[in-house]
Symmetry: C2
């Protein structure tokens, strides 16, 4: 594993993006989002994901020059067309609108059709929390998750992000509706490890911890069995119905051809009614109540979303971003 300073990572990725047709400022911003994703420890969707992102620009799924356009506005809600632009830039712009609407109305909603994979969903949760807002956003995806009782992947894993602001570090939940991503299954298999809990079904239809068996069956487990399956369905319906964009069943089931996804961005302003020092206290009190609770047998400590992020960020800023040598070589040759 190489360690490369974040500034160098950003500069390198931005140069690639400019060659691919990004305007300089948009190249810088897009590069920064990828670098910050690795900086925060979400390695699957940061630098390691960049080569695949470049492929979707080259194959025409992502249009580097396309900017989102508002297609309808009413009160505290707006509908946007992502024009198949870069998913992370689009999502950042959409959450920005939701935040502005929440500042004006207390709660705001930006619904974006026709956009692309937003990469790390947590990015837009942090964006909301750093603006002092509660952020709720979700995206649909290509079909990659069997519904409860179903043999074939009809649902998307439709990540849901809920972020809560807190001065000492926000709490940011970023959860896909599959218990493990295909990337995680691959990692476990390559390390020769079993999953820590059941992750899907094998060819015989039995729940299993064997990552390879699940990769073959393509039957990953929805979070909470029937519950996550239902959650994936309503998130998909809500996103498609408000954006009037595509639902999962209309999206091509190929990571390189997945495009025109539908996304929802909601923001709620804890200071809508005026300064809310008590809300800030509540955030701290909840975190303290969890962090101070006793760990279970076989567990080192109680865990909560985003707990490790600031520590990982500090380490990666100090040592440089961890980059797999073969990925970095590939990027340098672009």
């Amino acid at each position: 594993m190489n360690r490369i300073p974040i500034a160098e990572v950003e500069k390198t990725l931005a140069a690639v993006l400019r060659k691919l047709g990004f305007a300089p400022e948009r190249a810088n911003l897009c590069a920064r989002l990828f670098a910050e994703t690795t900086r925060d420890g979400v390695y699957t969707h940061g630098i390691n994901r960049f080569p695949r992102f470049v492929e979707t620009i080259r194959n025409g799924m992502v249009n580097p020059g396309a900017k989102p356009e508002a297609t309808a506005r009413f009160g505290a809600i707006e509908r946007w067309d992502g024009q198949r632009g870069p998913g992370n830039l689009n999502a950042l712009a959409a959450m920005d609108r939701a935040l502005a609407l929440a500042r004006a109305h207390g709660v705001g909603c930006a619904a974006m059709a026709n956009t692309n994979h937003w990469m790390r969903g947590g990015t837009y949760g942090w964006q909301a929390a750093e603006a002092g807002m509660i952020g709720i956003c979700w995206t649909n995806t290509m079909p990659n998750l069997p519904p409860w009782g179903g043999a074939e992947p009809v649902f998307g894993n439709n990540p849901l992000v809920i972020a809560v602001p807190r001065a000492a570090g926000p709490v940011v939940l970023d959860m896909a509706m599959s218990q493990f991503s295909y990337g995680a299954l691959e990692s476990y298999r390559k390390r020769g490890e079993m999953l820590p809990v059941d992750g899907g079904w094998d060819a015989e239809g039995k729940l299993t911890r064997d990552p390879g068996a699940i990769e073959q069956s393509r039957r990953v487990l929805p979070v909470g069995y029937w519950k996550g399956s239902g959650l994936a369905m309503v998130l998909d319906m809500a996103a498609a119905m408000i954006t009037l964009g595509r639902a999962t069943h209309e999206i091509v089931a190929d990571p390189l051809l997945e495009t025109a996804v539908s996304q929802m961005f909601l923001a709620i302003n804890p200071e809508a009614f005026g300064p809310a020092p008590r809300a800030a206290q509540i955030a701290n009190e909840v975190v303290a109540s969890v962090a101070g609770s006793p760990a279970a047998a076989h567990h080192a400590s109680v865990r909560y979303p985003g707990e490790q992020t600031l520590r990982t960020r500090t380490e990666n800023m100090k040592l440089g971003l961890p980059v797999e040598p073969e990925v970095w070589t590939q990027i340098l040759a672009m």
Copy 2:
């Protein structure tokens, strides 16, 4: 199991509520909500729950005469104090405000502090969907769910409801953050059955399907392990921070003394920008894509939230509401 016509159930429950101090109209509405919950097949939170509800009136946790009061309003968001009134009447009023705000602003939010258990959360999802709106609501609860890695129930199971309107029957997700409720564990144990999937930990800290072992350890499983644990936390934080009400760690961990919970009600109007026939089509298309997908081995069919509700409702309206004789005898004696 007795079968009693819904009108008789409503009349009987309303008479009990009037004796306990409910005004006649509020007694009727509260009784109707309990009866409709049983009608729709959610037996744990309908008539069977009524005796426990009555206990919380008698012990002073629920104030029958208290009506919610708006404490702050700004644009599309309102903050309410539930005054510790009946949880189902309060929640119905709060969702009603969210719907009115969504009609006026496209999206609306009513945040209610100091309220009581809302009984069946799906009620307020159906309420939104029947008004043509997407409804999203959640409540915090007393501590009853261990956080991921934790030995003690620090989180609530904080039910989350997401409802999507559809003319032929809405899709209503109503999920608590525990894989099984204590009521479900008890039912399995009494029938001498194991759970269909892991439902918690035994005394040795091992995942188990044995309902009795989980009832003893008090370590029920969060939906999706670390994921549902995180979701429970952010829902609690968001509800307490916007309502300025209690977070789970401040709520008494006793079902009979649980009070002053915090709840969030959001509504999004698919017709905010004008008539949206396409949104209605999308709802039907998604349901069709799921309903038509092949079932897995060991499963009769693909399942989705609310799929059975209308069928159960029709049957129960025809045959009468199923009521356990001992529960009914108890209610008749009140």
